[in-house]
Each structure stands twice: as structure tokens, then as C-alpha cells.
């Protein structure tokens, strides 16, 4: 079944993860993180539709049931709200569930448990309860995913107190952030992107974490600050590398965690460049782009030399067809165009 595969393979990743050492695939990096967590902590369990099937959730859960048993790595009924509640109840009692989803769209079924329960218990009962759980999903795109199988929902959840939101963009981070998320005592959402699943990168063996709430520079430059995460950053990097030939030097910040946000790194860069472009895999309106754009105008207004810009999805449901998708999703060309305009100003 070509389902996304063709497109995934056609993406050229021009900026591999820096550093030397073992190179590993993205999905395998997540697989390693889960393996280490399961071995390390008997409280960890992994669940989700098909985590034990031959597809193994893009390979991220491959071999885990064989190794840790069907009690700790298990398939679920098609009951997203119920299973989110089950995870919440388990987490409230000392377990560390990792609940895997093929697509973020399915998490919308569980918003009541996620937004009104998991994220609130710790505060609501005055700290008696902690809810250490990880909810993982891979954003769909391409091959007819369409309006109901392609939604990036991080923007919908950004405002919800008590949650943490992580969006890795390299195999290194995918592993390190997963381990950090599992270790965290709060509900942590990890949004992956399908098109990163076949990316390779340097991944250290064994246990390490990438701290939640800390961004990282992926490219240094002084003309403009580009802020984002996950696959949107990949596109921005491609645009930035193109523009370097014209002497435009972009500074690119990979936020890694959208909530809590690393404001310091953004401020530092913006102070230097005076220009900020926010990119996201989700709708530009009312989501991640809006929050960071507003923040810039609120906290770092004096640094700003030109209007804040955002590149996300237009205010339109995702069309399924291939040609329409090309018009719908911003590509490196489009991002490069925005950067050019901004730098000219």
C-alpha cells in the first residue's frame, strides 16, 4: 500500500541531525526510547490501536509486546475517550501509560478526558494526584488523508493549562523527548509527523533525555528568526538553505516543546534579528503561530523591526486530492518567498 510511503521517500532531508555517532531511523529511535522506558520502569505500559500488529505503529512499537508481554504492551478497543480515561486513571495511581495514536484526529474523540480530566486533576485536588502520561500521535499528510485524517491539533490544545506539548523534528529528539516525556509527572502530548518517520539521524545508544521546554538553534544567522517545530521546521530549513545562496542568513529555532515554551531562546534571537517568522504544521489562525506571534508583539515589541509573519495552513479543511494538496500545504518555495519579503523590509 503506497499510503504516504511514496511521498515520505521523496522528501530529501538536507539537514541531518548534527553530531557524530550511530545513525538511526526516526521510528526506530522512538522504538528504542519505549524499549528503554519499559525496561527501566515497571510502571510504564504502552497501548494503542495496533501497537502489537505487524505495522507496529510505523515500527515504533515493534517487538515490544514480545519482550515485555501482552499485559504491558497492548492493543485497544476503538474507544479513544474511554482509553484516555483508563490512562488517566492508571497515571493517577502511579503508572506511566504511553498511549499511541495513528493520527491526532483520533484524540479529538478524547478531549473531555484529556482537557477536562487528565490535565486538571493535579491542580484540582491540590497536588494529591499526579498524572504522568504520554499521548503520542503522528500527524497525517498526503495520499488522500483529507480533512479527517490530517489535522494538526497542537494549536487547539496550546491554551489548556496543565498539559505539555512536544513536537520533535529529529530522531535524536524523538528518542530523547519521548524519554523525557515519560519521566515527566504531567500529561505530555507528543505530536510527530508522518513525513519524519523515515528520516535518519544521529541517535546515541542507551538512555538520555532532551529536556522539555528548551528550544535549540538549528541554524545560525542574523537576518531573521524563524521559529517552529516538527515538519514545519524541516520545510523552513530547506527554505533557509536555499536563501543562503542569496546571502540571506536565517536563524532557525526548533522549539521542540510548544508548551511550556522556551521564551528565552526566541527573545535572544529576536533581539539580534528584529524579525520573526513563525511556522507550524497546523492552521495559522488561532494556534501556535498566533501565540508566538502575539508573544513577540507583547514581550519583545521593542526588538521588532518589521511585522510578525506566520506560515501555517490556510483557514480551510484539508482537501484529499493530490493536486489540491499542493496548493494547500506551504512548501519551501513559499516559506522562502515570505523570508525574502521580510528581509527586504
Amino acid at each position: 500500500m503506497p499510503w504516504d510511503e511514496g511521498l515520505v521517500n521523496s522528501l530529501v532531508y538536507e539537514a541531518p541531525d548534527p553530531g557524530t555517532g550511530r545513525s538511526l531511523g526516526y521510528a526506530k529511535a522512538i522504538n528504542e526510547a519505549l524499549d528503554i522506558a519499559l525496561a527501566h520502569d515497571p510502571g510504564v505500559f504502552v497501548l494503542g490501536q495496533g501497537v502489537d500488529d505487524p505495522g507496529a505503529m510505523f515500527g515504533t512499537t515493534r517487538g515490544l509486546q514480545e519482550k515485555y508481554g501482552a499485559a504491558r504492551v497492548f492493543d485497544t478497543p476503538l474507544s479513544e475517550e474511554g482509553m484516555m480515561g483508563v490512562c488517566t486513571g492508571a497515571a493517577m495511581n502511579g503508572m506511566r501509560p504511553v498511549y499511541m495514536h495513528n493520527r491526532p484526529d483520533f484524540i479529538l474523540l478524547a478531549f473531555n478526558q484529556l482537557v477536562t480530566h487528565a490535565s486538571k486533576y493535579h491542580y484540582m485536588d491540590n497536588g494529591q494526584t499526579t498524572v504522568p502520561m504520554v499521548v503520542w500521535a503522528a500527524i497525517g499528510r498526503g495520499w488522500g488523508s483529507g480533512a479527517q485524517h490530517s489535522q494538526s491539533i497542537q494549536g487547539l490544545l496550546l491554551g489548556v493549562p496543565g498539559l505539555k506539548i512536544v513536537m520533535p523534528s529529529t530522531p535524536y529528539d524523538a528518542k530523547g523527548l519521548m524519554l523525557a516525556a515519560i519521566a515527566d509527572n504531567n500529561p505530555v502530548l507528543i505530536f510527530e509527523h508522518r513525513w519524519l518517520m523515515k528520516k535518519d539521524g544521529t541517535v546515541p545508544e542507551g538512555f538520555y533525555t532532551v529536556p522539555l521546554g528548551k528550544g535549540i538553534y538549528r541554524r545560525r544567522g542574523s537576518d531573521i528568526t524563524i521559529v517552529g517545530a516538527s515538519h514545519a521546521l524541516e520545510v523552513a530549513l530547506q527554505a533557509a538553505n536555499k536563501l543562503a545562496a542569496d546571502g540571506i542568513e536565517s536563524e532557525i529555532i526548533d522549539l521542540r516543546t510548544l508548551k511550556p515554551l522556551d521564551e528565552q531562546i526566541i527573545a535572544e534571537s529576536l533581539k539580534k534579528t528584529g524579525k520573526i517568522l513563525v511556522v507550524d504544521t497546523g492552521w495559522a489562525m488561532g494556534g501556535v503561530c498566533a501565540e508566538i506571534g502575539c508573544l513577540a508583539a507583547e514581550k519583545w515589541f521593542d526588538y521588532l523591526k518589521s511585522p510578525v509573519r506566520r506560515v501555517g495552513l490556510p483557514d480551510i479543511p484539508t482537501p484529499a486530492g493530490y493536486t489540491l494538496e499542493q496548493f494547500y500545504y506551504p512548501d519551501a518555495e513559499k516559506v522562502a518567498g515570505v523570508i525574502r519579503e521580510m528581509v527586504k523590509k
Partner: protein, 341 residues
Amino acid sequence: MIRYEYSENGYQGWGAARGRFQDEFLVRLFRDMLRIRLIEEEIERRYHQDQMKTPIHLVIGQEATSVGCCAALRKTDLLYSSHRTHGNYLAKSGDLKAMLCEMHCRINGCVGSRGGSMHLIDKSVGMAGTSAIVAGAIPIAAGSALTAQLQGLDRVSVVFFGDAGTEEGVTSESLNFAALKKLPVIFFCENNFYSVQSPLATRQPPREIYKWAAGYGIASVRVDGANVLAVYEAVREAVKRAREGGGATFIEAPVYRFRAHGGAGDDSHTGYRDTAELKAWEEVCPIETYFRFLADAGLITIAQREHMHAEIMLEVIEAFDYALASPNPEEKDLYAHIYSD
């Protein structure tokens, strides 16, 4: 018009109970119910003073379910609840002072004034979590039971909810999962025939709730919710099943709330239910019928009851005084526990 009738036999046929249970135990059940009633009546009496700025959902008339159930549980068993928490919290030995402090929005409330009456939680006694969202705690209790199973504990998790709770899809999902995994969980449905002011008939087709639940392939029973001993026995059996690996049980207990859905006093006069219906159920008040049963068995006298009453009232007044004298939160308190370290 009486829409929903009491269709059980009270304590008829329970004469043998005296032999099966210790006298003290039987009397304690009475005291526990009476205590809940008196606490709630005092809350009700003081509610118009607006010192308790919190919604209240009284269990007056529904005391036998909480007391009967908790008598069959260990302290380490976990109880989850809905918006209607008072009876659950008290029966599970939740601290009265901490409860009243919470209801008075004081910083030493059981959840530091963050939750109010819908979030009476005291983990030290296994009052483990509540939800103000109908059916919200049901999958959470299933997750709690999964934990016990994964950790090899013989702990049982129980969740209380109302008849309307069975209409939420997540309840079906939870029953399915509990049946699939044979989870040590008890789903306790207090069917009081109303959701706020909506009668059951406008929300569910004619069918018996416990039979519907049986469709998930778990043990499912109906028990007289006005009979504390019947409730105790049903829960005891369910607990035994859960501890022995036999999986989940659904219990439907028909009950009747003597007060409005929320707030103080009855609201039958607004017309959504007939006052005659309320009157009929008051006739089978779980406290009075049980008192007569105990008195007939020679286990309690009116004088003893009066003494018990006075003793409880002393405790209650003291607890109210304590709550009223307790400090309010300060601004810094708002910022604690946003995230857990």
C-alpha cells in the same frame, strides 16, 4: 402521578441477618447513614447563609448506597465519584473537617479550595477521585483497576454514578474494556430516575439498566438501594469476584433523592416530579426503615438513637465551627501545583 415506584420489599426476609452479622456492625451501618443525613441537613440549613459558595448535590434519601458499599470495602480499595460526592466521601471515612473547610472555600479544605463540593477527595482513605462531568470518573476507575491488575494488587476500584451516567458513550467503552480485561472494578449505578429535572423516560428507552450492562458480558445485578444490607451483600459479592480475578460487576441500585438535584430543599413543586412520588419514597426512607428493622431486632432503642444523634451533632457543629474559623487562601496559593515537578 407517581412515575417511579419503589418495587422492593424493604427488610422483609432479612430477619436472619442478625445471625450473619455482628450486632456492632449492624448498628454501625445505621450510625453511618444517620451521620451523613445529619451532616447534610446541617449543610442545607446553613446553605442560604452563602458561606458555602459551592454547588451542593445532597444525597439525602440515598445514604444506604454509599454506606452499604463502603462497609464492604477496605480502606485501600479506591472509590471514585461524580458530582454527588458527599455520601461517598463520608462513607469512605473522608475527614469531615476537611470536607466542610472545602465547602467553605478555606485553604485547609480537603483539596485546598480548588474543588468545592464536587471534588471531595481524600486519598489517605481511598477517596480517590471525582468528576463534575457526568460519567467522567468511570473510565478513570477502570484505569485504576487496570493498575491493580498490572501491579498484582488485590485492590478493588469502585465508581459511583447516576442513571444518566449510563447514557454517555464512555460508559459503554468502559464496560467493554473492563469486560475484555476482567478488571477488578465495580460500576455502581445509583438510579434515582432523574437527571437534574429530566425523568429517565425522556432519556432512555424502556429497558432495565442492569440488563443492558449485562450485554457487555459482565456480572450485573439490581439491588434495593434503600436497603443498606442488600447493598452491602451485593458489593461484598462483587468485591469477592474482583479480588478473585473474576472481573467486573455492574450494580444498579434504584434510589430516590429527597431533595432537589442541586442546592437546598425539595423542588418538586416546580412540577417535574410529583410531590406524591417524593412522599411515597420518603415512606421507605433508608434510615427509618433500617431503624425499624434494628429496633424490631432489639438492636437499638429510641434513646440510643437520640444519644447517637446528639453525639453526631456535636461533631458536626464542631466541624462547622472549625471550618468557619479556618483561613481563606492567599494569592500565592493560586500558583501552587500548576504542574507537578
